[in-house]
Subunit: 393 residues, 2 copies
Amino acid sequence: MADKKVYRASTTAPVNIAVVKYWGKRDPKLNLPTNSSLSVTLSQDDLRTLTTASCSAAFPPEDTLTLNGSPSDISGARTQACLRELRARRAALEAADPSLPKLSEMPLRLVSENNFPTAAGLASSAAGFAALVRAVADLYALAADPTELSLIARQGSGSACRSLFGGYVAWRMGGRADGLDSRAELVAPASHWPQMRALVLVVSAAKKGVSSTSGMQQTVATSGLFKQRVAEVVPANMDAMEAAVRDRDFARFAEVTMRESNSFHATCADTYPPIFYMNDVSRAAVRAVEAVNEKAGRTVAAYTFDAGPNAVIYYLEQDTEAVVGTFYDILGATTDGWKQEAKALPGKGVPLDEALAGVIKGGVSRVIMSGVGEGPAKTEEYLVQEDGSPVVR
Amino acid sequence: MADKKVYRASTTAPVNIAVVKYWGKRDPKLNLPTNSSLSVTLSQDDLRTLTTASCSAAFPPEDTLTLNGSPSDISGARTQACLRELRARRAALEAADPSLPKLSEMPLRLVSENNFPTAAGLASSAAGFAALVRAVADLYALAADPTELSLIARQGSGSACRSLFGGYVAWRMGGRADGLDSRAELVAPASHWPQMRALVLVVSAAKKGVSSTSGMQQTVATSGLFKQRVAEVVPANMDAMEAAVRDRDFARFAEVTMRESNSFHATCADTYPPIFYMNDVSRAAVRAVEAVNEKAGRTVAAYTFDAGPNAVIYYLEQDTEAVVGTFYDILGATTDGWKQEAKALPGKGVPLDEALAGVIKGGVSRVIMSGVGEGPAKTEEYLVQEDGSPVVR
């Protein structure tokens, strides 16, 4: 009689926030980018996806994915590409060693949960695909080299390849048509520069903007300035950013981070029709960061914005008072998400122009406090029970 | 006994709104630009500067300028450069013909008035310098070739050189170090395409942004994308715009106008620190124009933004219902500046998304309706009386 055993593996994976931005694909099917990018992996204590991958001959024949408690469609080409690649690698192992159970032939039951509100508008696809790929790779007992797995995760969501590492991570664009050299590499582990912190100001957008998937291709197709970003601006920023991380040079890290965010949003504005992700609240956050740095007399904070109005503000632990204090003074009474360390800081921040503070107070709905953290990790916390039934919470 | 006669000349000069933008100087002293530009001259019935230039041996020795009723400083290098150039040309005439009165040696009394509120935030320096140069040139009986005078006005304010012509005007950047080939030329007179209209949505800015004079040089110095705009984007847009005007092709005129505005504001956003002239109200105007074009099934309107949040919307007279009607439906009840033709249009516009309409209604303080018009013109309306005393109103 057939093997009714339920096989399981659970992994957590982190969110990453790029400081050199990914924007533009040279091959949309394989998610091959027009330029390399670099990101900071954020701590999973604050932001993580937990995914349990399970399979069993006893499961109904269709693969399934449950995301935050609801069934999720996995028929999409990107998810299918990831599962196909993972199954092929498992099948190769099984062919080489007939004693292995034929997991590659069993239906998959995937269950995934984020520990942060989707409403936060943080790209959860990176953590999601990284966790999915890593969990299935563990289930299948595949060689778990993150760079190798990044080739698979990249096909699910480009930025997901960077979430397979902790610390400071580069996605090398590569040059091959098959994408085998377009993968993530560790630039430096979190332990190299553990003082890096991130304060996320969650800005409520009037309505969802253009999706990054379609937005970036509109930019590639229509922006007259984009060529220059890809050919000269990003390569120079990659070099400068790797040097800044290597030397733990925050002033340099901050300038490149801010210039990169500006360059990215400039090419969005140069898209036809123009794409606007930042709003007046986002711009007020830019001015606030500039004011904090000016009052501090040195660079203590850096802003960056992804495909949405949220501000991510990088700073070093030792500058928490000036940076977090400033925003806590404005937002502490009206928004959630503050850690204990922030609640000890009233009055420690930089006094901001009243109109500026008003715009920020009126537009920020919550904050998230985090910092540089580790990559995906195996866990004994399962979202599928030993008998294969979902964990009910 | 000395000649106590008061010599006078009066001129009006128009505002112009660029559709290919001037942003960046290669020589800040001579106002030599990094790229050519092209503008539409707006009708002086709606927007004009009236300037009377007078001189007399009986005046106190210092040149004076009265602007909208208040004394204005003319010691600035730009104003001085214009007056020096004009006096030199007059002195040459006087040297060649000793019978001419020695106006070049007499103090100047200049009085200037705009027929539009400075609060409108429309760059009035272009009309101001064009009127000043043209009025003094008339006072001095200089050869009044506008292209020749544009070399002088350019030194007062770059865009002023384009206000010496009506209709559709190009400012050729030129290549000479002395700037003698950096001047305005007529692309087509207003009569070539008289149907061109402009609706200005005056947006109240929270506070004055970076001045264009300093802003454009910050962009030249810090934007990594600016090179590309100057080297490739603008030259292509100049060619396309001249063809669009020549062929009276509004769809093409509109696309180049909108792409140009986007490209210009993109390089501002790419400046470090970033320069933001457009705000959420400006962006709502962009979306409104896109909606009007989409509902019309063809391009009937084009937006452009200068160094501030005001939207200038170009359209053709025959599309007044769709374009003006749409904004009158939103703003007619709450803002001034509408002409009779607009007041006949309630309900004739395109229904806009409610949130979008709300942002526009909340942020537009007044409108100005105008259209393509003629260049500077001599007038018998004087702001200085025959006895040299200012006209009191």
